[in-house]
């Protein structure tokens, strides 16, 4: 058993950076991410953490500095939120296409206007096609564990891709919970030294991003795609190893609770999956055959794992905390497309958009919505494919 501290989600990120022995942190403050940077600065100042903090003038520069340090051979972390991430967006592509290991903590926050600091997943989904590995935590313990795992995944030669770890604004970022810290030496031993595919440190003449012909470029992008496919196995392996060493693993890319015999599945991602789990526990007590499938890694998309549990179910209800305007919720779109890889006879899959703008969705509300969905199908009715749940 490691040391137990009471940490907010943001502090859990900071302690993970310390445990991973990060060399360089470059970040620009934004609510609700600010306390990550503050805590890291505090840990450096007190001598508990041996790292350099680079002050920058914007988020674009934050990731640019992080990327530069990483290319030069440093283990790095940056953190941001909402519009900060939007401003970083260009460099997210640079980082993944240069195949440079970087870890970014994202405190998910709604986009403006309407100035809003609460959690939606808009900013997260905005990075869907950047070539980053995208993960989402359920609670503060998982924030800490996943951030440490992220370094191991990112620096694996089979992968060499940047990893984003998301946590919901306030619901996790500012909420204190007991968090167990793994042993620092053991983490260092497990992570090993910084590993990357190439280094630009002045000893050898090397340039990144020269003009490349279409065929060469396409092959590089294909390799990024292959590395992302390969990361599926690496993520599972890393989670298993972590479990063996530190006593906690999370089921790889998804966590499925009450799923083995379930006729229905409720699918979600992020902290509100916990509220959904509680709702499903209530439904189970009433005899409903339902499980919760929580997506832990959104990229690579865990379609294989979802199919494993969705095979033979009568219906899936997918909760999205964002929407792709003119289409559907992003998690829904991927779930439908993912299952279609395995069957042409899809079960009923409905999409509920809710909690956008940080609207609180309680376990009781999840209970009503999920129960309604099951009742409709059991009564021979077709539930609507997409609904926007909003109460006032």
């Amino acid at each position: 058993m490691g040391e137990k501290l009471v940490l907010t989600g943001n502090y859990a990120v900071a302690y993970a950076a310390k445990l991973a022995r990060v060399d360089i942190v470059a970040a620009y403050p934004i609510t609700p991410q600010t306390t990550i940077v503050e805590k890291i600065a505090e840990l450096i100042e007190s001598g508990e953490m041996d790292a350099i903090m680079i002050n920058v003038e914007s988020e674009h520069s934050a990731l640019a500095a992080t990327f530069g340090a990483a290319v030069a051979g440093a283990r790095v972390l940056t953190a941001t939120s909402s519009h900060g991430l939007m401003y970083m967006h260009e460099y997210l592509h640079w980082t993944s296409r240069a195949r440079i290991p970087v870890v970014l903590a994202l405190v998910t926050r709604t986009l403006a206007p309407g100035w809003n600091i609460w959690s939606s997943h808009d900013d997260f989904y905005g990075q869907r096609d950047t070539g980053w590995i995208l993960s989402f935590a359920l609670d503060n313990q998982e924030v800490l564990d996943t951030t440490i795992q992220a370094f191991k995944i990112s620096e694996d030669p089979r992968v060499y891709l940047p990893v984003l770890v998301a946590l919901d604004a306030f619901i996790l970022s500012h909420t204190s919970m007991p968090v167990e810290l793994p042993d620092e030496k053991q983490v260092a031993e497990w992570l090993g030294p910084r590993r990357q595919g190439y280094v630009v440190d002045g000893r050898e003449l090397l340039a990144i991003g020269n003009l490349t012909w279409p065929e060469d470029t396409e092959e590089m992008v294909m390799d990024l795609w292959r590395a992302m496919e390969e990361s599926y196995n690496v993520i599972k392996e890393v989670d298993r190893e972590y479990g063996k060493l530190f006593g906690r693993s999370y089921g790889g890319l998804i966590q499925c609770i009450n799923c083995s015999d379930a006729k229905y599945l409720a699918v979600a991602m992020g902290a509100w999956s916990g509220d959904l789990m509680e709702a499903v526990n209530m439904l189970r007590e009433e005899g409903y055959s339902i499980g919760v499938l929580r997506v832990r890694f959104y990229r690579p998309f865990p379609h294989r794992d979802i199919w494993e549990y969705a095979r033979g179910v009568k219906g899936l209800i997918v909760y999205d905390r964002a929407i792709s305007f003119g289409a559907w919720g992003q998690l829904y779109t991927d779930t439908v497309a993912g299952l279609y890889q395995y069957t042409t006879k899809l079960p009923i899959i409905s999409n509920v958009i809710a909690g956008v703008g940080g609207v609180n969705v309680t376990a009781e509300e999840f209970y009503e919505l999920t129960k309604n969905f099951i009742e409709k199908i059991e009564g021979g009715e077709e539930p609507p494919r997409i609904t926007w749940y909003h109460r006032r």
């Binding site: 195949r99 030669p157 090993g192 590993r195 595919g197 292959r226």
Partner: protein
């Protein structure tokens, strides 16, 4: 910093957007030249600006002898002549 030794290990999928300086597929690009940089080494102060600014890395400044240009690859862009603070390089038609 420097807590551990950095490990460079080849990726499994290894087509990366990186390049090392080498002779390009176009071969000896000196043929492209319209004007040629001609150096007056007696004027040269060995400031190294031409070496630093040369975009194709074909200039070396030797402290003893002065500026040396590899004309096999110099495309004659004229940047060296432009940055020289003492006008020791002159662009002359081929």
């Amino acid at each position: 910093m420097g807590k551990d030794k950095l490990v460079i290990e080849k990726p499994l999928y290894d087509r990366l957007p990186i390049a090392k300086p080498m002779v390009g597929v176009a071969g000896k690009t000196g043929l492209w030249r319209v004007e040629k940089p001609v150096v007056n080494n007696s004027k040269c102060t060995r400031c190294f600006l031409c070496e630093i600014y040369c975009p194709v890395n074909v200039i070396r400044v030797e402290p003893e002898t002065g500026v040396e240009i590899d004309y096999d690859y110099c495309k004659g862009c004229g940047i060296c002549a432009d940055v020289c603070p003492v006008n020791a390089i002159e662009m002359k038609p081929e």
